[in-house]
């Protein structure tokens, strides 16, 4: 039937002429439907990706644990006791729960004076372990490094600084008078520290003690020599396997409740922020949103499909004589049907192709806008992923096929004798 392509296109053009308004409205409806399904999904995808990036800014798949206050009396001990962790608890947790990839704890001191070359700011100082580099996504810009084990052992006076803290003290890298901070000496509480690294710029959505970009990180051991602190402000734990998060949480409750003597059922004694669970909930919300967007777009396309079917029904009615003649010439059911099917697919294809083209153009244009603005950082870049393209194209072709199939079936059931009666 390939040799029929010319005729199909000619028929389409004739239909275009005779049903100008109906045809153009239908094609516009398909373009609109394709655009809405593709772009809605693409925005959902961009938002999802962006949320992923923002989430990983805090740390990928970690648990953050704070000590709380007991709410239930336990083994003769009263309620209202404060649960606080000493630094040695970290080794204990590592020993007790082998399912953990890394465990760490930190000291925090807010509003400390930090200065370089006379420039002074008041920012947060964090005493941390080397594991924080990958647990909390504190990756150095090139030329620098994060705090390591030797720094820890030797209680070195070294600092890893957030990129905005760097901007405040040394100026943004492309500004006049900028000096490379690596190796420079800064003062933290009047004590000299050598800058060993600057944090790579990152998006951080979740935070529990202020943004990392304006923090000075120093070895936890050094921190203890400077400030008198007995208790960690919180723990950070990363399970080896994301699927073991629930198990690790249970184990944490069980070993910490034994060690600090509180009722394992006492949910107020510990508070755990499960970043994984948060992310999974968020992911589900996003998928729900995409499904919702997809359905809206799909419905628009469905309405457009009804328009195509309508055009085809009119075409069948107007061409009954022609169908009868073809049958008299020996056309079979398939011959009669393919013509109408192909015509419907052609209409859907022109509308869908234009819609897809416009979608890619719009997504491409938006993606080219730099992500500087606050809104874009949260919205992300609309992304037409392969699954989205597949969904759009399959919805389009299903609708095109259905819009052609039913009218074509009617065409094939035309009674040639009736259609050829000439009075």
């Amino acid at each position: 039937m390939l040799s029929n392509a010319r005729m199909i296109i000619r028929l389409f053009l004739r239909e275009l002429k005779s049903q100008k308004l109906r045809m153009s409205l239908t094609i516009i409806a398909i373009i609109w439907g394709t655009l809405s399904i593709t772009l809605l999904l693409a925005f959902g995808e961009g938002l999802k990706n962006q949320l992923d990036i923002n989430r990983k800014g805090l740390g990928d798949g970690i648990l953050i644990i704070w000590g709380g206050q007991t709410e239930k009396p336990y083994k003769g001990l009263p309620r209202g006791r404060q649960i606080r962790f000493r630094p040695d608890i970290i080794d204990y947790i590592r020993e007790q729960i082998p399912e953990i990839e890394a465990a760490g704890g930190e000291f925090i001191n807010w509003g400390r004076p930090i200065s370089y070359n006379g420039k002074i700011v008041s920012e947060k100082v964090n005493g941390v372990l080397p594991e924080y580099e990958f647990m909390r996504s504190l990756y150095p810009d090139s030329g620098g490094r994060f705090i390591n084990k030797l720094d820890l052992q030797n209680k070195r006076r070294v600092a890893f600084i957030g990129n905005e803290l760097r901007d405040d003290l040394f100026g943004p890298p492309d500004s006049a008078g900028y000096v490379d901070p690596i190796g420079k000496t800064i003062l933290i509480n009047d004590i000299q520290f050598t800058v060993i690294g600057v944090m790579q710029k990152k998006l951080q959505m979740g935070m529990y003690s202020g943004p990392d970009w304006s923090t000075a990180f120093i070895p936890i051991t050094t921190f203890q020599t400077m400030y008198t602190r007995r208790y960690l402000s919180n723990l950070v734990i990363k399970p080896r396997d994301i699927n073991q998060t629930e198990y690790v949480k249970d184990r944490l409750y069980s070993i910490l409740s034994t060690k600090y003597k509180f009722d394992p059922e006492d949910k107020r004694a510990l508070s755990i922020w499960d970043v994984v669970e948060d992310a999974q909930v968020m992911r589900k919300v996003m998928i729900g949103m995409q499904v919702f967007f997809g359905i809206i777009g799909g419905l628009t396309l469905l309405v457009a499909g009804v328009g195509v079917a309508n055009i085809m029904y009119v075409a069948v009615r107007e061409r009954t004589a022609e169908i009868g003649v073809k049958m008299a010439m020996g056309a079979k059911r398939a011959h009669v049907m393919t013509q109408f099917m192909l015509e419907a697919i052609l209409i859907a294809g022109i509308g869908g192709g234009t819609g897809l083209f416009l979608s890619f153009a719009i997504a491409g244009t938006l993606a080219a806008i730099p992500m500087e603005s606050e809104a874009m950082q949260w919205l992300g870049k609309p992304t037409i992923s392969i699954p989205i393209a597949i969904v759009t194209i399959s919805v389009l072709s299903t609708i095109g096929l259905a819009a052609g199939y039913f009218p074509a079936r009617r065409a094939a059931s035309v009674n040639p004798v009736e259609s050829l009666r000439y009075e």
């Binding site: 005729m7 040639p416 009666r421």
Partner: protein, 241 residues
């Protein structure tokens, strides 16, 4: 070629049942050139549609080219129409958006003839009906006589044994009509069996046999035929309104 016995055809239009054919017995041998005449509504077109396997009788037996067609399915009937039968209509029934070439090509496409062979065949057929220089014309650019010749070329595409024509000259002036009948005569002489419905005495005169249909039956009584022919000769047309 055609062997009909006791053919009946009833149409149910709502509550009214119309019996278009009431038991037609008709035999047409290979190589005959037969015209069917009769008043309007006598069942001529119905008979022709059944002969052409475009319709099935309500009752009776039909053998085409030695093959009983009663038990054939839709697809097999389509094959018979494609290979053994050529149709010519009063209103030409060409596809208006297709060229003469494409119109003639159509039955060859349905018959799955290979492209090269098909194209050669179309050129040959249009040459045979004297339209070798009209290949790219659309029906609107052709005269009535030319359109009917395209339709005949189309009917002959797959070299059918039987040509069926329902008032092929009905929409033509007498000169073009005569040219069409000349063409039929030529085809008949080269071996094609032709069954043609006509109202025109001068057209019927040129066939080798006339079948007279009245009220869904073939009229066989000599007196009735004589009477019909008398009034026909008088009017030149078989039945004027």
């Amino acid at each position: 070629m055609i062997k009909m016995s006791g053919i009946r055809k009833a149409y149910n239009t709502g509550r009214i049942k119309v019996e278009a054919l009431k038991g037609v017995d008709l035999e047409i041998g290979a190589g005959e050139f037969v015209s069917i005449v009769g008043p309007s509504g006598s069942g001529k077109s119905t008979l022709m549609n059944i002969a052409g396997c475009l319709d099935v009788p309500s009752d009776g037996g039909y053998e085409l080219d030695g093959e009983s067609v009663e038990k054939l399915n839709m697809s097999q009937l389509a094959d018979i129409r494609n290979k053994k039968i050529g149709f010519v209509f009063q209103a030409f029934n060409l596809l208006p958006y297709a060229t003469a070439f494409e119109n003639v090509e159509l039955p060859l496409i349905f018959g799955k003839v290979a492209t090269k062979k098909r194209q050669d065949r179309v050129v040959e057929l249009l040459g045979r009906v004297g339209l070798q220089d009209r290949l790219g014309h659309k029906p609107a650019e052709l005269s009535g006589g030319e359109m009917q010749r395209v339709a005949i070329a189309r009917a002959l595409a797959n070299n059918p044994k039987l040509l069926l024509a329902d008032e092929p000259t009905g929409n033509l002036d007498s000169q073009s009509g005569k040219a069409i009948i000349d063409l039929f005569e030529e085809l008949w002489k080269s071996g094609t069996t032709i069954l043609m419905i006509t109202h025109d005495f001068n057209v019927a005169k040129r066939t080798n046999r006339v079948v007279y249909l009245r009220d869904g039956l073939v009229v066989t009584k000599a007196a009735d035929i004589a009477q019909g022919i008398k009034s026909w000769k008088h009017d030149r047309q078989f039945d004027t309104a």
